[in-house]
Structures are given as structure tokens and as C-alpha cells.
């Protein structure tokens, strides 16, 4: 299906990432956003609030993030495409309900414009430290999809992709942006509506009294019925059978846990190859591969350039989809290279999965960053140089000390000096 012209404000703009995300959501056919303002994501919500009513969509400022996330799951079951917009503290508040949404297999999108943490942290500064929270934040077993855009243009493009994935796989999809991308102003091209391809939710069309809300098709995804369709829905966050009924008997519970909870995981895991999007550059004959995502991949470009000037064979693997993680790809690459270098604006999150998938075949170098800024490209090229020099296998994650960290922690740097 193509996007509807009334939702697409075609043109060439000079806007920031948040604005682009708001435009992208509308272009994707989002009909409802419930949100609560939080820096640095506010502008995305503001944008949607302004443009949505002209296209027949609704924005509501809820009383808190707990309400925002619950309300979009409700609207999702009313049959419309929905999204909420937040940052760290709000994201933490949403966690319980995200698991509820995953259990209900409600399609919805969350835009998290990450900021420095923990707690209030640095609201106006960047961070990438919510990556593991996106993956594991709610209790219990479930799978989500997370995408990390690196530019305002991608905030638009991947907002659309996020909706497509959510509708297709009936799961929460997180756009894990960060303050830098959110507040960065660049050229954004919003294409014509007929060039934007949209996925549609699989709605149930059979006889109403025969409907089983959680009976999957072959692709493991059940067709959905809306509230008010007359299908007599019984939907619960309890462990349920195909009919949606909670199961109380212990034996049956074990069985339904297998068929329901297991399927929540399998529908993403077994479709991972179709979901995952990566950007590879110069990895064919590389000795070192820089694995990066979000704003860090923008900075890594310069770092890689500096390292190449020194004659090092270095390639780049950019994770556009961070979750599900490209296990196979990393394992494959690990066999032929010396090391992975991972710059991320946290003290080590995605690096754990790189190490897990490398299976000890290649060294893993983490370039951490405490947040409130991005890496210095020289730190990245220095780490690449070190990784290239290091000939022995080191059986743990090597934490690269950046220049700033050395300055602060080893030389006792003070501002006055």
C-alpha cells in the first residue's frame, strides 16, 4: 500500500531530527500519538501535534508516560497506527506496559530520543545508554525491534520503516535515536506519497464467532480483530491460549506458556533475517571492523578515514537494526578479522552482544563514552590502530581509554589548569 497524500508533506526541508520523525510518523499513517513532553524528544511530539489534525490524526498530551504508553496500546487495539515519544526517564516509566503490549501483540512504535543518564542525567545532552533497556527493560521474555537512525533524513525514513515493522510483526518497535540526531538540523527530503511503501496490518476477515485472537498463521503472526468488530474479544496480559483466555490449570499453563510466550520470541527471531538492516562498507578485506549505530556511526566515519590514512585495512558495519541482533553476521565476520572496535556513548552495552557473537575468534575493543557528547574521531582511529597492533587474542572486552578519560582519571585534570 502507498502512503496517503494528505499525510505526506512532500518537499525539501532544512529541519532537525525530531521534526523529521514527527513528519515520518504522519507519513507512515500514524493516526494517534499520546505523549508527555520530555527533552530532547519534545519537538517530535510538537511537530505531530501541529500537523496531525490537518490530516485527521490525533495528538493528545497525556498526564504522564504511564498513561501515554497504555493509551497507544488501547488505540492500537481500536485498529489504528500509534506511537509515543519519549526520552530516558519517561522510557523507564513505560517499561511495565511495554511488556504488556508485547504480550498483547499490539503493534506500536516508541521514539526514544536518548539523553545522558542515569536519572535526570543530562537532559539536553546525548547518550546511547538505553540500548539494553530497550531489549530487556520489561519483565519476562519477549522480543522487540529497535532501529538506530543517524541523521534527520533517517529519522523520517526509519519512522516509516518502524511502523511497517510494527504492523507486520505485531510487536513494539523502538526508534532508538539520541539527542544529537534529534536536535541536529540537516537537509531532509520528504518524497511524494506514491513513492512511500507502507505495510498494512493483517486484519481478521473470517466468521466472527470463529475468531481466535492468538492463533498464528504460518508466519507465526496472528491476524488481528479490532475492538468493536463484533468478535467478542477477550484480551489479557495473563498467559493465555489461542482464544485469549487465561489458563489457570498448571499443566495447561506450562503448555500455553510454550505456545504463546515462545511464539512472541520466535516470531522475531525466526524472521530476523528479514527484519535486520545493516550498512556495510569496506569489510571484504578488512582486518578491523568498526561496529557502530546511531550518532556514533557518523563520528566513526571520520575515525575510519584517519585510520585508513595510516594504511590500516578497516571496514565499517553499521547496525541500523540493533535488535534483533545480527548474530550470524558478526560470527561470520569474526572468523576473518583481527578485531571489532565498538564506539558507543555508554560504558558498554551493544559490545556485549558483539563479544558473544564473536565466539573468541576476534578481539573486541570498546570505546566507551560517558555521554553528554560524542566521541573524538581521533579516539576511534587510535583504538583502531591499537586493535591492528595487538596480535594476541585477549579473552575479554578491551576497554579503550579515550584521551579525555586519561586526562581526567590519570592526570587528575582540573578545569582551572
Amino acid at each position: 500500500m502507498k502512503a496517503e497524500p494528505k499525510n505526506v508533506n512532500t518537499g525539501i526541508y532544512y529541519i532537525d531530527g525530531d521534526v523529521a520523525a514527527g513528519q515520518g510518523a504522519l507519513a507512515a499513517g500514524c493516526r494517534f500519538i499520546g505523549g508527555y513532553p520530555i527533552t530532547p524528544s519534545t519537538k517530535a511530539a510538537e511537530t505531530f501535534a501541529e500537523i496531525a489534525p490537518k490530516a485527521g490524526a490525533v495528538f493528545i498530551q497525556m498526564e504522564d508516560e504511564l498513561a501515554s504508553i497504555a493509551t497507544i496500546i488501547g488505540a492500537s487495539y481500536a485498529g489504528v497506527k500509534t506511537m509515543t515519544i519519549t526520552s530516558g526517564p519517561g522510557y523507564s516509566l513505560m517499561m511495565e506496559t511495554i511488556g504488556f503490549g508485547a504480550m498483547l501483540e499490539a503493534p506500536f512504535v516508541i521514539l526514544n530520543v536518548q539523553r545522558g543518564g542515569p536519572s535526570t542525567g543530562s537532559p539536553t545532552k546525548t547518550g546511547q545508554a538505553d540500548m539494553m533497556q530497550a531489549r530487556w527493560g520489561s519483565h519476562g521474555d519477549y522480543e522487540i525491534i529497535a532501529i538506530a537512525p543517524e541523521s534527520p533524513q533517517e529519522m523520517f525514513d526509519y519512522a516509516i520503516k518502524a511502523f511497517n515493522l510494527a504492523e507486520k510483526y505485531r510487536c513494539p518497535v523502538m526508534i532508538m535515536a539520541d539527542e544529537c540526531v534529534g536536535h541536529m538540523t540537516e537537509k531532509v527530503v520528504i518524497p511524494k506519497a506514491d513513492t512511500i511503501e507502507l505495510a498494512t496490518r493483517k486484519f481478521y476477515k473470517g466468521p466472527k464467532d470463529k475468531y481466535l485472537p492468538f492463533k498464528p498463521d504460518k508466519d507465526l503472526i496472528p491476524p488481528m480483530a479490532k475492538a468493536g468488530d463484533g468478535c467478542n474479544l477477550y484480551i489479557t496480559g495473563d498467559t493465555h491460549n489461542e482464544k485469549g483466555y487465561p489458563i489457570s490449570s498448571q499443566n495447561l499453563k506450562t503448555k500455553t506458556h510454550k505456545s504463546t510466550t515462545r511464539r512472541l520470541i520466535d516470531k522475531i527471531k525466526l524472521n530476523a533475517d528479514k527484519i535486520i538492516e545493516l550498512k556495510e562498507e569496506g569489510i571484504e578485506d578488512a582486518d578491523i571492523i568498526v561496529v557502530s549505530y546511531g550518532i556514533s556511526s557518523r563520528v566513526a566515519v571520520k575515525g575510519i578515514e584517519l585510520a585508513r590514512e595510516k594504511g590500516i585495512k578497516v571496514g565499517s558495519l553499521r547496525l541500523i537494526t540493533v535488535w534483533p541482533f545480527p548474530d550470524k553476521k558478526i560470527a561470520e565476520l569474526a572468523k576473518n578479522i583481527k578485531a571489532f572496535v565498538i564506539p558507543e556513548i555508554n560504558y558498554g552495552q551493544v559490545v556485549f552482544d558483539v563479544e558473544r557473537c564473536a565466539h573468541g575468534e576476534a578481539n573486541v575493543v570498546l570505546i566507551p563514552h560517558g555521554g553528554a557528547g560524542v566521541h573524538h574521531p581521533e579516539d576511534i582511529s587510535d583504538a583502531i590502530e591499537y586493535a591492528d597492533r595487538e596480535n594476541k587474542k585477549i579473552e575479554k572486552i578491551i576497554e579503550w581509554k579515550t584521551k579525555l578519560e586519561k586526562l581526567i582519571f590519570e592526570k587528575g585534570f582540573k578545569l582551572k589548569e
Binding site: 499520546g34 488501547g74 467478542n232
Partner: protein
């Protein structure tokens, strides 16, 4: 719970609304078979979020009649209640006040009867409670509810009438139902012997009573009745009015003419 469901079924029938238009988000599980009989859509959400979830259902599809059934209205989801009242979101909230959490036996909920000597088996307050209860009806009214009523499990006919009336009412309505689940009060001497007799002896109908006077105190009779009813624009009506005023012809009203 069962007398309330029966009254709900009667109320739906009396209201003339097609059951398939009704969605019930709830933080109390209904029996699935009951939902089947009622012909409604049912969502067992998580603690406290039924009103927020219902807001999404309503705004996602304004044709739905959304009736959040809530057991624990004033604690974990209290903020949603207050704000939905303020917005006049078109919801009919049915607050099942059983003086206790139904599912987790023995926790004190904030709308519990104050200093009730009979309720001494609770585990979360084994020495009874000294905290004041909420007057949920008064709170709803002061937040802007367009319809408030309170009944007990004894007053099923009155409750059914209230539900029928409120289902056809546009705006934020609240019906409080007092219904200690008999299963959970087996240790309580008086209520155990005859639940309905307890309500018969301890309640008094005062229709039109000011909500500020209907606090549940242990030494006074429980006041039940239909307390308030007024007309006010709903959230969607206000939304359409305001945005229509500012955006003019650029604006498509949400939910069509009916809101």
C-alpha cells in the same frame, strides 16, 4: 462481582446499545465465559492502566462505548482518573469498591472502609487501618464527572438503571459499586453470615445527595444513590470545537459529526 455483572448485562440491554460497540478495559479479570455471554470486547489490562487504555480505545475509534471496570481506582491509576475527569473523556468508569483488593487477599486499598473492626483479617494491615478512605464519588465530581452514582451489590436494579443511563450519557461518568467478594471475606464474622443483610442494614438511599456528604465512615450508614448529573462538552467535542475554530476548513473533525 457476579451481581455487578448481572446488573451490567441488564444495563446494556436497557440502554439499547449494541453490545459489540462496548469495550471494557479492566484491571479486574472477568470470567471469559461471561464476556462471551455479554457480547462485548474485553481487555484485562495491567494494574491501574484501564482508564488510560480506554482513552486510547475511545480516541482510536470514537464510535466505541468504553467502560473501564476498575477495582483499584485511587492508588496506582489515580492520576488517570483525575485527568480523565478533567478532560471529560467519554468513559463510563465502574469502580468496584470491595474494601479490599479482590485478587490479592488482604491488602488495604485507599477506598477501604475506615476503622472497620470487621475487617481484621487483612494481611497488609493486620491491626486494622487508621488511614482515611477516599470519597471517590466526591473526587470524581470535583474533577468534572458528568454523572456520579453509588450502589451496592444489594441494589442491582438501581445499579442496572444507572448503568443504562450512564451508557447513554456522553462524558466522564462514574458509578461506584460496593461489593465485598464473599470468597474473600470468609473470615469476617458479620459479613460472612449475610452479605446482603449487611448492606440492607447499613445503607441508605439518598438520590441527589451532594457528593461531599457521602464519605464512607464506619459509624454512619453508607449513602447510596444517583448523586449528580450534568451536561458538558466531552473531550472530543471540545477538541473538534477548538481545532475547528483555529484551523477552519483545514481541519477534519475527529470521529465525524457525533464525536
Amino acid at each position: 462481582m457476579n451481581p455487578i455483572i448481572t446488573a451490567f448485562a441488564k444495563g446494556i440491554k436497557k440502554s439499547g446499545i449494541k453490545p459489540s460497540r462496548i469495550s471494557v478495559p479492566s484491571d479486574i479479570p472477568f470470567e471469559p465465559e461471561i464476556v462471551n455471554q455479554l457480547g462485548i470486547d474485553f481487555f484485562h489490562t495491567i494494574r491501574g492502566r484501564a482508564i488510560a487504555f480506554g482513552t486510547g480505545l475511545k480516541l482510536g475509534n470514537p464510535d466505541l462505548i468504553v467502560v473501564p471496570f476498575i477495582g483499584d481506582l485511587m492508588t496506582i491509576g489515580g492520576n488517570h482518573f483525575v485527568h480523565s475527569g478533567r478532560r471529560n473523556m467519554d468513559l463510563l468508569v465502574i469502580c468496584v469498591n470491595n474494601f479490599l483488593y479482590r485478587e490479592i487477599n488482604g491488602k488495604s486499598a485507599p477506598i477501604q472502609k475506615h476503622e472497620n473492626e470487621q475487617i481484621t483479617t487483612q494481611k497488609f494491615s493486620p491491626y486494622s487501618t487508621f488511614e482515611k478512605p477516599f470519597n471517590a464519588t466526591h473526587l470524581a465530581n470535583s474533577c468534572g464527572a458528568v454523572y456520579t452514582a453509588r450502589w451496592t451489590a444489594l441494589h442491582t436494579d438501581e445499579l442496572a438503571d444507572s448503568i443504562a443511563e450512564a451508557l447513554n450519557k456522553r462524558g466522564f461518568s462514574m458509578i461506584e459499586v460496593l461489593s465485598p467478594g464473599p470468597n474473600y471475606y470468609t473470615g469476617i464474622k458479620k459479613i460472612e453470615s449475610d452479605l446482603l443483610k449487611f448492606y440492607y442494614e447499613n445503607s441508605v438511599i439518598k438520590n441527589g445527595e451532594s457528593p461531599r456528604n457521602v464519605t464512607i465512615n464506619s459509624d454512619e450508614k453508607i449513602v447510596v444513590g444517583k448523586f449528580t448529573e450534568k451536561e458538558q462538552l466531552t473531550f472530543i467535542e471540545q477538541y473538534n470545537l477548538q481545532l475547528g475554530k483555529v484551523l477552519g476548513s483545514k481541519f477534519t473533525p475527529h470521529g465525524g459529526r457525533n464525536g
